[in-house]
Amino acid sequence: MSAVDMRVRIGDLELRNPVMTASGTFGSGREYAEFVDLSRLGAVVTKGVSIEPWSGNESPRIAETPCGMLNSIGLQNPGVEAFCANDLAWLAAQDVPVIVNVVGHSVDEYAAVAAQLDSEPVVSALEVNISCPNVDAGGMAFGTTCAAAAEVTRAVRAETRKTLVVKLSPNVTDIAEIARAVEAEGADGVSLINTLLGMAIDTRTFAPKLARGVGGLSGPAIRPVAVRMVWEVARAVAVPVIGMGGVTCAEDAAEFMLAGAAAVAVGTANFVEPSATLSVIDGLERFCAERGIARVAELTGAAWPERGKRET
């Protein structure tokens, strides 16, 4: 395989390749260490972390849907202190950039988590999750108006010098507007999409399949929506975009990059194939090599009309 330069940049952070894990689908990386050489990943993105431990939602928490799944985990996590003591301590010994997904019930809680993580050298970047559809207070509520999204970003920005990525909700009328609002407050990048709010009802029991009723839809089913939003956002902001939503193979990852993503994350696909991230990385390198593309970053936005047409 010819040597393709797989490196990409997100803010100050250089990744060895553009493939990371999607928050909440990869634990803290430790659970997947049997299946994936973590040092090959672009980055590990951890599950969401809050100040206090959160116990999450009742079971059932997942349901399978056509080419997708619903989840309503509800950001169950042990709180930032236990997270630092256990997960980060373990990650410190791994050779991989760590991006921590940050959640809160209030602007202050987001800021407090960010402040605490700012002093952890193993943390390369924060991903501020203003888009989780599975909690009543906070979560997605902060991601559906420009004002709230900006406020959270500002508060977190004030607490950290680390690379700051804001994770956007697709459950909005105009995602590009929200992206511009968080960019204006100093976000170094945006990631999208979080899950689409969805629901499934059991026609046997006449009750919602998830205990909480609604949940977040992920997987290949949502890919067209995610690609469209990446396309819109990447053309609206100057900071890099991390694209996700139904990536299962290298072609899917390439599709996101062509739409304008600088990097991609693999989520639901890890569940069926624990080493999915590695096949995406290898496949993406092959994809570029076969087409004589020297740097994977050249894919970013290559489908934009203003880039002109490609000779095939």
Partner: protein
């Protein structure tokens, strides 16, 4: 008996045989030497029954028996995945992750064990009875099912148990009624050293209460919907005295005394 210290791995398995046992119930034999060699009683495998867009998630199945490089799985057809499993012809490739989870354990010095199985609750108990028998633990099995046809794998249990008591909802075999009536009697009469229960959650809950009342340690094997199967996604949690635990790595077998039973968690009960 260990809790399965072997590390899980993805193994390319092949269907070696697939036989019908009763209406909607079958047993599939998978050639999977690495997993078969490593798996402990009560552990499970996460099966990729089919490829393609409609199989977004794997499906978890207990291993009934493991021998000669093969795994036997008892399954009940309840949806699209188990239907596809029932239709898988010998030779079909089907990859799995295994061995997974924490299986049954044998308390120090146990000499007499009671196994309580409701319906397909026998599925994770094949290796268990073999293992108990080998260690010289005397086993009583109480097995209930809707009808006699669904009293599965009776030969294996009869060969390995000191005593087998049966109950059916329709009285077509054994006592007419619930298996929990049998377990109540046996606990009172026999006072086993340990109880192992598997079946519908309300049944397990009743057995757990009987065990507590009698002061006998009890283990239950709980089912939850599972996405990753390896502890990462938190889709499979069980509420315990020690907080929410993941059925896929902290279970599926739990000490019944730790479980906080949530009636709403069983779709059958919720209905």
């Amino acid at each position: 008996m260990t809790c399965g210290a072997h590390r899980p791995a993805v193994e390319k398995a092949t269907v070696a045989a697939n036989d019908r046992m009763a209406r909607g119930v079958g047993v599939v034999t998978l050639k999977a030497p690495a997993t078969a060699a490593a798996i402990a009683p009560g552990q499970f495998v996460h099966l990729r029954i089919a490829e393609g867009a409609d199989f977004i998630l794997r499906r978890p199945f207990s291993v009934y028996r493991a021998h000669g490089g093969h795994l036997e799985i008892l399954y009940q057809v309840v949806g699209v995945g188990t239907r596809a499993l029932s239709e898988a012809a010998p030779g079909t490739a089907m990859d799995l992750i295994g061995p997974l989870g924490r299986g049954w354990w044998v308390p120090e010095g146990a000499a007499h064990a009671l196994l309580v199985a409701g319906g397909l609750g026998v599925a994770p108990m094949g290796m268990l009875v073999e293992c108990l028998a080998q260690r010289g633990v005397a086993v009583t099995l109480a097995h209930g099912a809707p009808t006699s046809e669904r009293l599965l794998a009776r030969e294996l249990f009869e060969a390995n148990c000191r005593r087998v008591e049966l109950a059916t909802d329709d009285g077509s075999a054994g006592a007419c009624g619930f298996v929990t009536a049998l377990s109540e009697e046996i606990i009172a009469a026999d006072r086993p050293d340990v109880i192992y229960a598997c079946g519908p959650e309300p049944m397990q809950r009743t057995v757990a209460a009987q065990a507590t009342a009698a002061g006998v340690p009890c283990q239950v094997s709980l089912e939850r919907l599972m996405a990753c199967g390896i502890g990462a996604c938190l889709s499979c949690v069980v509420s315990t005295r020690d907080g929410r635990k993941r059925a896929c790595v902290d279970g599926p077998v739990f000490d019944a005394a730790d479980v906080l039973w949530e009636p709403s968690e069983d779709p059958e009960v919720r209905a």
